[in-house]
């Protein structure tokens, strides 16, 4: 039985330019996993969380864009096309759960859209740089506990072009998407060539029992010149099981005093 809680997937990621990978997502996650040692490139160690440009820099395939004028020598997405910065990301992880446990695969932010493959099963992640994605993968986990995960990440729909003179926000096309807008360059910033495409925030799996806690909300009210306070707590709960769940929902507020002594 797996321990309840979150495991961050931030190690062992590989990446490859999508145009250089001739396998499908199903094939990538059901056959032999790719490796940087493969005689056929294109797989490289990836920065996850991070951007495609960060991965390319990590592998010294581009110069550091923030050093001197080196950004000028990096191909801009307006000239290369979106496919050039469309990348596969791949990793494997171990997770084996018992019958009444459930597992979610969580992405805290992807820029801009993606398709996720886990052990041959596909899930499409919708557009939007600033949104979380959570997929129930319980039924897709491999019985032996070894799981293969591949994610193809697409750049923003409107990466825009950078006018010869630069300017505030380039040609402003990026503003059509729900994405960071500085990436077309500003008066203080050169354009970011991949427009920050990538899995740019935490990836994790969470194991729960039949019932999951979602997005608790804490609010305080004060009275009597701050002598009295009330903490109001609301939470969402999801019963992921096919049975009625009799639950005991507990809240505890503590403050840490000296060392590890906890005062309730």
């Amino acid at each position: 039985m797996a321990a309840i809680g979150k495991t961050v997937l931030d190690k062992g990621w590989l990446a490859a330019r999508s145009t250089e990978v001739d396998l499908t997502g199903e094939q990538l996650t059901t056959g032999d996993p790719p490796s940087v040692a493969d005689p056929r490139p294109p797989w490289m160690e990836a920065s996850v969380p991070g951007t495609v440009l960060g991965t390319l820099l990590k592998n010294r395939l581009i110069p550091d864009p923030f050093y001197g004028l080196q950004n000028e020598s990096i191909l801009d997405i307006a000239d290369s096309g979106r496919e050039y910065y469309t990348f596969w990301f791949f990793t494997s992880f171990e997770c084996k759960v018992s019958n009444n446990q459930h597992v979610d695969l969580n992405f805290r932010a992807i820029n801009y859209s993606a398709e996720v493959y886990l052990n041959g099963h596909k899930e499409v992640l919708p557009k939007g740089m600033f949104r979380r994605h959570s997929i129930d993968i319980t039924d897709f986990l491999h019985p032996d506990g070894k799981n293969l995960l591949a994610v193809i990440v697409h750049p923003p729909d409107h990466p825009g072009k950078i006018p010869p003179g630069g300017g505030q926000g380039g040609d402003h096309e990026i503003g059509k998407d729900i994405a960071a807008q500085y990436v077309e360059g500003w008066d203080w910033m050169a354009p970011i060539r991949d427009r920050n495409t990538g899995i740019w925030d935490e990836v994790s799996i969470t194991v729960t029992g039949p019932v999951k806690i979602v997005d608790p909300h804490l609010v305080t009210t004060f009275f009597d010149d701050y002598k009295r306070a009330y903490l109001h707590t609301t939470t969402e709960l999801i019963n992921k099981s096919a049975q009625e769940a009799e639950c005991s929902l507990n809240i505890q507020v503590s403050t840490e005093r000296e060392g590890n002594v906890c005062l309730v």
Partner: protein, 229 residues
């Protein structure tokens, strides 16, 4: 008195919302911005135990007792802030993100934000063209007492200005914008450093987005009667 338990029942597949009875605190140790006092933090832990299974899920988060108010001063047009009833002179820094390649490590966030605190700042403004900042950013703002002015993603790219002229109606997909905005609020709303949501940079969003944001972010009527007395 800072513990409570609810007995509830959930149908198969049910997605429900529950509110605990309010927990009472006498003389809570307040969270203060940098320069006004300590950044006292409590730990809130929620667990759900299921009959015949045991602990099913747990969630914990640090939490600061504070009340932040802001109003527009009619004589100057400036925004005035109060924290825990006390006026505060805002000394702020503008922020886009920690790194243009989004290598957003905890170490770098800690160094960046502590540096702002060491400069005697008490607010960071997250500019609309950059990031809705991450929980790690907010964690260190909580820890070092930096209030956060967080803007949504509306800039000169979305208002019909500029050369060439930008799309005058903001992002193409307004529903997607609002979905992302709501999800971001849920991600960040429990941080004591979060002081103010702002629609965009130097402008208001398209009217439908602006109205929806104002409506969703207004204080629930239940809390309007509370008074610091």
């Amino acid at each position: 008195e800072h513990l409570d338990t609810l007995q509830i029942s959930l149908s198969p597949g049910e997605h429900a919302q529950y509110t605990f009875p309010q927990l009472s605190f006498y003389k809570p140790i307040l969270w203060w911005p940098n320069g006004m006092g300590k950044q006292s933090l409590y730990n809130v832990e929620i667990t759900v135990n299921v009959k015949d299974y045991g602990e099913s899920d747990t969630w914990s988060n640090h939490f600061g007792f504070r009340k932040i108010e802001s109003t527009i001063d009619s004589s100057t047009g400036g925004r005035l802030f109060k924290v825990n009833g006390q006026p505060i002179f805002i000394r702020g820094g503008n922020w886009i993100l920690s790194d243009g390649l989004l290598r957003l490590s905890k170490e770098r966030y800690k160094a960046d934000i502590k540096f702002h605190a060491d400069m005697n700042f008490n607010m960071i403004r997250c500019w609309a063209g950059g990031l809705a900042e991450r929980p790690d950013f907010y964690y260190y703002c909580d820890l070092y007492g930096l209030l956060v002015w967080q803007e949504f993603w509306i800039t000169g790219d979305c208002d019909g200005r500029g050369d060439p002229v930008s799309n005058p109606d903001g992002p193409l997909d307004h529903d997607l914008f609002l979905f992302c905005a709501r999800d971001t609020v849920k991600l960040l709303r429990n941080h004591p450093s979060l002081a103010l949501w702002v629609g965009g940079n130097e402008q208001v969003p398209p009217s439908d987005i602006n109205e929806a944001l104002k409506n969703d972010l207004q204080l629930h009527p239940y809390f309007k009667d509370s008074s610091e007395g």
